[in-house]
């Protein structure tokens, strides 16, 4: 198994800096959902990781910890993080995206 980035929605949706989406070297890997966290009463949307594209470089972790100082991203084993966003399940909207979560390592 291998490590992928995992974003804490509660921390992310309280700040909304979007730095991780801008610093990720992979295209369309860290996406943004304007409505994530709204059902919990949080102010902004949240970034999330399309884990099938994540190469585990952890640049987003450095950016979140040192530039944004939010500490919202951790590296976790892909078989231990539960249901996650996958490229095949991402729905693009006008100004935001949503993802139907699924098990990244079925079987």
């Amino acid at each position: 198994m291998y490590l992928v980035a995992s974003i804490n929605t509660e921390v992310c949706a309280a700040t909304s800096c979007k730095l991780c989406t801008q610093y990720c070297p992979e295209a369309n890997t860290i996406l943004y959902n304007n409505d994530a966290g709204k059902d919990q009463g949080l102010k902004y949307g949240s970034a999330y990781v399309s884990v099938d594209r994540c190469k585990g470089c952890a640049q987003c972790v450095w950016v979140c910890d040192n530039m944004a100082k939010h500490n919202a991203i951790k590296m976790e084993m892909i078989d231990q993080i539960g249901d996650q966003a996958l490229t095949q399940n991402i729905i693009y909207g006008e100004k935001s995206t949503t993802a139907v979560l699924a098990n990244p390592v079925p079987g």
Partner: protein, 296 residues
């Protein structure tokens, strides 16, 4: 070279892969997308085989987001790491033989002007320091002296990263590498100085740890190359493999190098300043209003 080439053939849309459908329906073609909107639209760059955490990939991704008209852009590249990602994008990519990317781009630019007349078609060369400053040096400099109207971007990782770590002309003096065990014997080549001497209308250095600045620089360079003359961007894109930078410290290294030897610099010719102000409303280059007369 029109929006039609990214549309579905009627009846076939349901057979296309999801990535292709997303690109047609939610891609940047025909829209004005910016770096601040990233994460909410389908990018033209796709999955690619570059190393994890590569700063060159980040720069290429930001450059592709920043192209003013991606549907009217052709990229030209050559051997080196960069082409592994540049070729995995939803815009045409021309692969020049090692070193002749600026020659290929010259012909391409002239051909597009003959074919499409005044309609702007942007040609952007993206190649490494070896392809541009060593093996393609003559063709790069000649294209600038001939005032060929296209953008040249050097992805400067200061090493031949693709072939095991040989020194290039852009490697710093005394740098020891796997295939340069005694250290490099001469200074890093001053390509910025040569670009200015050769008559480039826009010359800039940039480091990818500031995405908005990368966007600004790429947009200016591509726009100026449409009408005024050759433009050159030199981007520091570290090789975390050959320089043994831990992958989560790549941005820290970029910041350190920016402070040390890669400070942001920008040269814009007088003609290019006027052009950007007149045609594209760049306020920073607009003539400053005459100071109001002091009331007597």
């Amino acid at each position: 070279m029109s929006l039609d080439y990214v549309k579905f053939t009627p009846g076939f849309d349901r057979f296309m892969p999801k990535e292709y459908r997303d690109m047609v329906e939610h891609g940047p073609f025909g829209k004005k997308t910016t770096v601040s909107q990233v994460g909410s639209f389908k990018e033209i760059l796709e999955e690619h085989p570059m190393c994890a955490g590569c700063a060159m990939t980040l720069f290429i991704r930001l450059a592709m987001i920043s192209f003013p008209n991606p549907e009217d852009t052709i990229t030209v590249g050559t051997a080196g790491c960069g082409r592994l990602a540049i070729s995995q994008a939803a815009i045409p990519f021309v692969y020049g033989n090692y070193g002749d990317q600026n020659g290929v781009a010259s012909g391409l630019t002239r051909g597009l002007r003959l074919r499409f007349g005044d309609k702007p078609k942007d040609v952007v060369v993206m190649a490494g320091d070896g392809g541009m400053a060593d093996i393609g040096f003559a063709q790069t400099l000649h294209s600038w002296f001939r005032k060929e109207k296209f953008t040249t971007i050097m992805l400067d990782n200061e090493v031949y990263g693709n072939t095991g770590g040989q020194e290039s002309g852009m490697t710093n003096r005394n740098q020891v590498l796997k295939m340069a065990p005694l250290g490099k014997k001469f200074e890093k080549m001053d390509m910025l100085g040569m670009a200015k001497v050769a008559g480039c209308a826009y010359v800039a250095t940039v480091v990818p740890n500031n995405p908005r600045r990368v966007e600004n620089v790429i947009k200016k360079a591509v726009l100026i190359a449409r009408e005024i003359g050759p433009t050159y961007i030199q981007a520091y894109t570290s090789c975390n493999i050959e320089y043994a930078i831990p992958i989560d410290k790549v941005m820290e290294d970029a910041k350190a190098v920016e402070l040390d030897r890669y400070k942001f610099s920008e040269y814009v010719s007088e003609e290019a300043r006027e052009y950007l102000a007149d045609q594209y409303g760049y306020k920073e280059y607009m003539p400053k209003p005459a100071p109001a007369l002091a009331k007597s």
